[in-house]
């Protein structure tokens, strides 16, 4: 079976830190953003994307960490 390399999606610029972002359905570009999921989704619709992929970009000064029990 031929190995297929996954495609690296575009980077998310720091201007989106802490914001909900909407990708086009092919996940090749960011089409909109908003302070909330609802806002981002509505902005994506206005931009012509009816099935956006939504995610929240990391807060500028917040990091996930692991810890020892």
């Amino acid at each position: 079976m031929e190995a297929i390399e996954p495609v690296q999606p575009p980077s998310v610029p720091s201007e989106y830190c802490g914001r909900w972002i909407a990708w086009n359905h092919d996940r090749t570009r960011i089409v909109a953003s908003g302070a909330t999921l609802t806002e981002a989704r509505a902005a994506a619709s206005q931009a012509g994307e009816s099935r956006p992929f939504l995610t929240k970009a990391p807060e500028a000064h917040v990091r996930f960490v692991g810890g020892l029990r």
């Binding site: 297929i4 996954p6 999606p9 998310v12 720091s14 996940r27 609802t38 995610t55 990391p58 990091r63």
Partner: protein, 106 residues
């Protein structure tokens, strides 16, 4: 299972000074009673379970049972009791949109 991590540009991290953040995010297709969403979820091998936010649950028309409450605990050991039951979520499925990406089905 192979999938690309999502790269975020960030202000310099207090942990290591890096301005690059990579997160293992996988595509999810949440289908509720009244709506559906395409989201990216964090693949966290250290988590015992999976949760979605109330806003997401309400958007797709999932029903929350306020009588069922669970305790969630994070790094600082602070416990939160939250209503987690999503009783009418019809399916939770991550679809592989490109060859080489992960595929999960419930």
């Amino acid at each position: 299972m192979r999938f690309p991590y999502q790269h975020y540009e960030i202000p310099a991290s207090p942990v290591d000074g890096s301005t690059d953040l990579y997160r293992p995010e996988i595509p999810l297709h949440l289908i509720g009673e009244s709506d559906e969403l395409f989201l990216f979820g964090l693949l966290d091998t250290g988590a015992d379970g999976v949760v979605i936010g109330r806003g997401v649950a309400e958007t797709i028309g999932a029903t929350l049972d306020e009588n069922v409450r669970w305790t969630l605990r994070g790094l600082n050991s602070r416990s939160l009791k939250r209503s987690l039951v999503v009783s009418t979520l019809r399916s939770w499925m991550a679809k592989s949109l490109q060859p080489g990406e992960c595929r999960l089905q419930s």
